[in-house]
Amino acid sequence: MLKYLIPLVIFLVLAGFLAIGLTRDPHELKSVLINKPAPAFRVAELKAPEKMISNEDMRGKVWLLNVWASWCVACREEHPYLLKYAESKVVPIYGLNYKDRREDALAWLGELGDPYTASAVDLDGRVGIDYGVYGAPETYVIDQAGMIRLKHVGPIMPDVWSEKILPVVQELNRQGAAK
């Protein structure tokens, strides 16, 4: 009896592992920056290039950093939702315009609308390296103290927003208000 059970058990264990493996996205890597200070940047602002924008400007509030570019196809997918989230005023969304031509980026915002409180320009991808960006769109939730609390790789579709990002933002806001 045992003789026949062992192959079955081995098969089930293997099938279990493979089934879990199928549901996972190998492109989604856990960020090492979670609960670490958001890397500092100080770069030009997209719409007002004479002005500089820094992560320090957002200290004291919970904010999202959304890495986007006009060449990024998945960014187009999340864009209408970003507009909706921005309109709800739950959390300010700042953009990191990643390796994009300025005129392309401005045309994109003009055409599709601008959900960003402001967009920082990362022309050569150097800020992206500090944040461990490996594929746009990426979104970081940064807390009042300037710590990264969550990173999402890929478009923020409504389910990601309501199940992953919103709860973290609301919890951080609650904690901030309690203090």
Binding site: P26, H27, L29, K30, S31, V32, L33, P39, A69, S70, W71, K99, D100, R101, D104, L123, D124, G125, R126, G128, I129, D130, Y131, G132, V133, Y134, G135
Partner: protein, 202 residues
Amino acid sequence: MNYLTASRSGGKPLFLTCSFPTYVMSRVPGMNKSGRGACPRFGKSFLLTVLLICLLPAFAKAQVQEEEVPSDDPVIEQRLAHLSKELRCLQCQNQTLADSPAGLAADLRREIRLQMKAGKSDQEIVAFLTQRYGDFILYKPRVTFTTYLLWFGPFVLLLGGLYILFHYIKQRRDMIPDKPLSADEHRRAEELLASLPGKETT
């Protein structure tokens, strides 16, 4: 920023496709030099379509990618060639930083060159990268608690296999009866051997 050129994040220059019409012209019936082929109209419209397709990349949005400038220091290039073989490109995960044509890989190579020029050691550069991208950027995983199974699992399997093998051999050996033949059996065996043609018995 005078090195700015446009290229797709995937790497290959977009203009490659435009060598296609010359190739097609020599292959499509009706496009021979005399211009009096079997089907000249088809040839022309086909060529026009191909040419129009070639215009498409001009409308495609492209990633801004600075052209990669090799360092003038051969030592740095050598170190980079060595180090980038051990690092993973996170955009095309099955390629090393050395091989990957992705924009991110080029950016990281540029960053490594800069840091080498600034006198950083290989270990410092690897630390810089893992602080941002995690251990996944290393092709050779570190020995940590989470990678124990990866590093030592094969040896555990090997030892387990050896144990099962020895156990099996021992069991088989025990199964073979170690009983000496009785006098009667011995005599029958002798007889059988003697009956074999061309065989001498002792």
